[in-house]
């Protein structure tokens, strides 16, 4: 058993956006997460890494309220939250992308990105039925925001294309667009670069950095490409078999013996 290295507190006083304390999650007999604790500072890029089956996606699912941990507390924006629905999480400014693209395949790029604005639209059924007055204005205002996202991600040309017809790399980009359209405070990215070629990866990295720097969005990402992780992230947390085995800056994590073992599969005799 390896002692988890405690996260180093960097000199400056950072504001904690999300604080996860001793979270455990099990499905039946399978322990997906056990006593995981880490925090995410406002404005940083935080990577969650680990071998397959380490519980990374489960961790994201816990953060955005899709899974409910059996144990532990989660503090988001200075508020300890109780059992929370994904809807509530989304309305508090958490949005995410998925490991296997979860776009709405039958809809166009534009409509997909517009779904990211749904929580910001309030007009009732009757106004929508008339598509006039406030409802129409609301559509147009949100369309403008969606168009800004489209512009930012350079996907103008595929605006009206059904996403089911797009190549994989573009779909990933549209999915990021949908998450961005909500103007999130915390953006969760689940393997945003999986299955991409080098060029697409570079594009995606650029977008992630731009989002972080231009909008100040806090980002938590899961990624297997170590080069990308080390370059992008401010801090990295490493999970293995549902436990945290390391936490720190990329350099610290890279040097951690436990992490190396977890990835190379060295067996330890207790």
């Amino acid at each position: 058993m390896i002692e988890a290295e405690s996260a180093p507190i960097q000199g400056e006083h950072k504001e904690v956006l999300l604080d996860i304390a001793e979270v455990s999650l099990a499905f039946g007999g399978v322990q997906a997460l056990s006593d995981v604790s880490f925090d995410i500072y406002k404005g940083e890029i935080r990577a969650i890494i680990g071998p397959n089956g380490a519980g990374k996606s489960s961790m994201l699912n816990v953060i955005n309220g899709f899974y409910h941990p059996q144990k532990g507390t989660i503090k988001y924006k200075e508020e300890v939250r109780k059992k929370m629905s994904p809807h509530k999480a989304a309305s508090q400014g958490i949005s995410r992308t998925f490991q296997n693209i979860a776009l709405f395949k039958g809809m166009t790029t534009l409509d997909n990105i517009m779904t990211g604005r749904i929580l910001k639209m309030r007009r009732g059924l009757l106004w929508q039925a008339l598509y006039w007055g406030p409802a129409r204005n609301e559509e147009i205002i949100n369309r403008e925001i969606a168009e800004q996202v489209i512009d930012f991600l350079e996907i103008e040309a595929i605006r009206k294309t059904p996403v089911g017809k797009l190549p994989y790399g573009l779909q990933k980009r549209v999915e990021l667009g949908r998450a961005l359209a909500a103007k999130p405070d915390l953006l969760l990215l689940d393997e945003p670069m999986a299955g991409m070629n080098v060029e697409e990866k570079e594009d995606m990295c650029r977008f992630i950095i731009d989002v972080n720097e231009e909008f100040g969005t806090t980002i938590a990402l899961i990624e297997h490409d170590m080069g990308v992780v080390m370059d992008l992230s401010d801090r990295v947390v490493v999970l293995n078999y549902g436990r945290k085995i390391a936490d720190g800056t990329p350099d610290q994590v890279r040097a951690n013996q436990g992490v190396i073992d977890a990835y190379l599969g060295v067996s330890h005799s207790n």
Partner: protein
């Protein structure tokens, strides 16, 4: 050369989001509406209006309703007939109890009641999906018809168990009942259908439509981006049932004149489902095309043998008709599983390039 959008630039998002962004489409639809309003009532015979045009319009409305639920929100329902019956029986109850209320308002009220009933029968969609839900909606079909059949209050305790359209006027013209002319009933139907077709279009191109499609395409992702799937599905059930209820009310009061529960049997549910599949799932226009196909096909099949000079016993002909209907449905599904709306789209793309092949 006739049909292309070249040169039609949108300078505002409003223009880009309009129902028919391409001018030719706009003209074409306007032309059809003008013909439907001004030309058809003058030229068409009583038979054509009564046997073709009125049912076509009414079933189009029901098909739009079901398409909102199945095509847009992705909730397969086989209970259409039941919801149509709610509209019809509630209209009957309301208009016999309050004869002074304008019949159109009664239609809408009955639609609202149908919407409420639809909401209740949509509750299982919280827990079950797909074919399980489809079978569950059959419960509404059977239960509602049984209730309208069994509880005499719904048909005012009359001995025949049928509901009959009483004469009701609007602006001094009789629009329901045996005295109403086919032209009047046709025009009233047409106006209601046009208005509600546009409302449906508005709903599906706005926030609600996007929520429906999101739930349809991937409900978990929809939930995570902040759509409440259950609420969204329930609204779909309610809106869809409103349309079906309205169509059911119009079916009895503007078309048939009187009806028993038999008129809303499961076969009607299947027919409306055929309309949206053949017309095109997730297409308002497709609902009209599908209704035209399904209303027209039996008429064609009934008359076809005479046209080619064939004569056979009545019941034999009925069986062959059913058989042909079934085969044509299968044939059509094989040839164009995405429906007439897709066919139209392909046609448009061809037209865009015409007269050049590429």
């Amino acid at each position: 050369m006739l049909y292309r959008e070249t040169g039609q630039f949108k300078i505002s998002y409003a223009a880009d989001q309009s129902v028919f962004p391409i001018a030719q489409d706009r003209w074409f639809v306007s032309l059809i509406i003008v013909i439907a309003i001004f030309v058809i009532p003058v030229l068409a015979s009583e038979y054509l209006l009564q046997a073709v045009m009125i049912p076509l319009l009414i079933f189009s409305l029901a098909a739009i309703g079901l398409n909102l639920l199945v095509g847009y929100a992705g909730q397969l329902s086989l209970g259409t007939g039941g919801f149509m019956a709610v509209g019809a029986y509630m209209t009957y109850k309301l208009t016999t109890a309050f004869p002074d209320i304008n019949i159109i308002i009664v239609f809408l009220l009955a639609g609202l009641i149908a919407a409420f009933v639809g909401l209740i029968f949509g509750i299982p969609s919280l827990r079950i999906k797909g074919f399980y839900l489809a079978v569950a909606t059959l419960a509404s079909q059977f239960f509602l018809l049984w209730m309208f059949n069994k509880v005499a209050w719904f048909y005012n305790y009359n001995s025949s168990g049928t509901i009959t359209a009483p004469p009701r006027e609007m602006f001094g013209v009789v629009i329901t009942g045996p005295m109403a002319s086919a032209e009047t009933r046709y025009l009233v139907t047409l106006f209601i259908v046009i208005i509600f077709a546009f409302i449906a279009k508005n709903l599906v191109r706005g926030r609600l439509g996007r929520s429906w499609m999101a739930v349809r395409d991937m409900d978990i992702a929809a939930e995570i981006i902040g759509i409440r799937p259950f609420q969204t599905k329930l609204i779909a059930f309610a809106v869809s049932s409103f349309y079906c209820g309205l169509a059911g009310a119009m079916m009895v009061f503007l078309w048939l004149g009187s009806a028993e529960t038999e008129a809303f049997s499961i076969n009607e549910s299947f027919n409306v489902l055929f309309m949206i599949i053949i017309g095109g799932l997730g297409s308002i226009l497709g609902s009209f095309l599908g209704a035209t196909f399904i209303v027209g096909l039996p008429i064609f099949l009934t008359n076809a043998p005479q046209l080619v000079g064939l004569s056979m016993p009545i019941d034999m002909q009925k069986h062959i008709e059913i058989m042909m209907f079934g085969s044509l449905i299968i044939f059509f599904l094989i040839v164009e599983p995405h429906g007439l709306a897709r066919l139209l789209q392909i046609l448009k793309e061809k037209l865009r390039l015409w007269p050049f092949p590429y």
